[in-house]
């Protein structure tokens, strides 16, 4: 157990050094969310006044947070794919470490990074006048909800890192997954304003429940039934991904 902690810490430290010395990677993931928050928030401010009932940026923020958490988690496996491509992963596996520490170290690093990025988005939102109705506790709750999505998506990304053959494929999948996943939810417009087929997809998209819960914390305060519903959906999603990840990765890391 102590050895597991030592080897996992070593790998987590490595990823944290990357984070500190390559802040551009954060900027890369934050680019889309920040553009949406600043420009889409500004552009649709007047247009949406009646339909969302208030400030559009405030309405948009949960969707932006979801996009941030999704994007960062989805990209989380990439460094492992690079390690696989350049031989470092094999060398790592020739050391007497538990294979699980490779996954746990990366998993922790990705989710620390996600939290950091969500804090930046919340800070930007604050600058643009977004206030959180549920207060400081609400801010914490928003970060936790971001992580609840991030956990499951990170596992998907770790699976992709070991299943995919090249990082080119990986970038393509990230590129085509983030925006549809967000648009096919209640991220940008109320659910009942979507066409039926989009509404049906949004209905099974965990992000919808996440965003609805976040939105209630931002716009109106603590809405317990909504939060419980979100927690159940996301925990089931995370559980399913952990189960799948365990099955697939056990094979690939033998």
């Amino acid at each position: 157990m102590l050895e597991f902690a030592q080897e996992t810490k070593a790998q987590l430290v490595r990823w944290m050094i990357h984070l500190r010395r390559e802040p551009f990677n954060i900027a890369f993931n934050l680019l889309n969310p920040v553009i949406l928050l600043i420009f889409m928030g500004g552009a649709f401010q007047g247009l949406t006044q009646g339909s969302v009932g208030g400030d559009y940026r405030t309405y948009l923020l949960p969707g932006i947070l979801a996009l941030t958490a999704f994007g960062n988690s989805m990209a989380g496996g990439i460094p492992l794919l690079f390690d696989k491509e350049n031989g470092s992963l094999l060398r790592l596996m020739s050391t007497p470490i538990s294979r699980a520490s490779i996954l746990v170290g990366r998993f922790l690093a990705v989710n620390i990074n996600t939290t950091l990025q969500c804090v930046i988005i919340l800070g930007l939102g604050f600058i643009f006048g977004v206030r959180i109705a549920a207060g400081l506790g609400g801010v914490l709750a928003l970060l936790v909800i971001g992580l609840l999505l991030g956990f499951g998506v990170t596992v998907i990304s770790l699976i992709l890192a070991f299943v995919l053959k090249s990082h080119g494929d990986f970038f393509a999948i990230i590129g085509i997954s983030a925006l549809p996943a967000t648009f096919l939810s209640s991220a940008f417009v109320p659910l009942d304003s979507l066409p039926l087929w989009m509404r049906l997809i949004a209905w099974v998209n965990p992000m919808t429940y996440m965003i609805d819960a976040m939105r209630s914390l931002i716009l109106s305060g603590w809405d317990l039934p909504l939060l419980v519903r979100m927690a159940i959906v996301l925990l089931v999603f995370d559980g399913a991904m952990f189960w799948l990840g365990g099955r697939v990765l056990r094979r690939h890391l033998a």
Binding site: I17, E22, L90
Partner: protein
């Protein structure tokens, strides 16, 4: 303690239709440098990946310091240091951060960590560069860092896959010195290479591998002497066209010696193929003296492992390398 650090018996590995290793058996004694020598694609890297527990063999038995690689892979991993062919340093980390990273992966205690880091830095000659990021190091220095990372836990066996591939001449020499220092410290080294000079310079034992099979194994000197072929070259002093008969006389005289296998004339030189120059040289000198033939120079050359490879596999090693590239 085990005197045989690596024991491979009847090892086989198949990748689809390709037989990477075809019934390989070999042993490496403790404290020696062993070289697996062969062209690219001969099966060297597959052998190393099996020894490092990264690839499962199809058949055969492999033991590292008495531990079976299939029965207790985790223990094997703690007994080896593996430095792959590719550079695996992390550009974002400093030299010292790399060594700390590996210290933790090998579960070293905090008390031994710093002394070991200093020791490793000294061994590869990186002292004073602890705080430089790997990104800014030259290719040769990156390789040295890679080598240092593999010995943080003082493993009894170090596996080096093509350690001097693509390095400058002087860095290559540094890497060789590092390998020799490891041996001085009692570490066993298992080395893969397709450089003949590297194998000759470093290895106590070599096995020549070709198409997944070991063609021949033994000490480099023993392999060379199996070829029974040294070449002695005698150059006649003051040679001119009128003195051609001097060379012919000499050729006729040495041809009568039992140890001489063949002779060829080449300008002022006579090339004499012999089994062993130690025995042949005095006899040839005696003949030239008794015939009063003045000699300007006399040289001899031994066959290198290049010739050994050619002899045992039927084709030159260099040609194979070009074909792969």
């Amino acid at each position: 303690m085990f005197d045989t650090v690596v024991r491979i018996e009847n090892l086989r590995k198949q990748y689809g239709p390709i037989t990477a290793l075809d019934d390989i058996s070999l042993e490496v004694e403790r404290g020696t440098i062993f070289g697996l020598l062969g062209p690219n694609g001969a099966g060297k890297t597959t052998a190393v990946k099996i020894l490092t527990t990264l690839v499962r063999p199809d058949a055969g038995k492999v033991e590292v310091a008495g531990t079976d690689i299939l029965k207790d892979p985790d223990r094997v991993r703690s007994l080896i240091g593996y430095v792959p062919q590719e550079l695996t340093v992390d550009p974002y980390l400093t030299v010292k951060e790399h060594l700390r990273y590996y210290a933790d992966l090998y579960h070293l205690s905090a008390a031994v960590r710093e002394p070991r880091i200093r020791e490793a830095l000294g061994l590869v000659g990186l002292a004073g560069q602890e705080d430089r990021r790997a990104r800014y190091l030259s290719g040769g220095t990156k390789k040295k860092l890679d080598l240092a990372c593999g010995l943080m836990h003082r493993p009894p066996l170090i596996l080096l896959d093509e350690p001097s591939l693509g390095l400058d001449v002087h860095v290559r020499r540094d890497v060789w010195n590092y390998v020799l220092r490891l041996k001085e410290q009692g570490t066993t080294v298992f080395l893969c290479t397709n450089y003949m000079d590297e194998a000759e310079r470093l290895c106590d034992e070599v096995a020549i591998i070709d198409h997944g099979k070991i063609a021949v194994a033994g000490a480099p000197a023993a392999l060379r002497s199996q070829l029974k072929k040294d070449v002695i070259s005698v150059e006649i002093a003051g040679f001119n066209e009128h003195e051609r008969e001097k060379l012919a006389t000499l050729e006729k005289a040495v041809s009568q010696l039992a140890i001489v296998q063949a002779t060829t004339k080449d300008g002022a030189r006579l090339k004499i193929d012999v089994e062993s120059n130690e025995i042949a040289l005095p006899q040839i000198l005696e003949r030239t003296a008794s015939l009063s033939i003045p000699i300007r120079t006399i040289t001899y050359s031994r066959p290198g492992l290049d010739e050994v490879f050619l002899h045992f596999t039927g084709r030159p090693l260099a040609e194979e390398k070009e074909k792969d590239a």
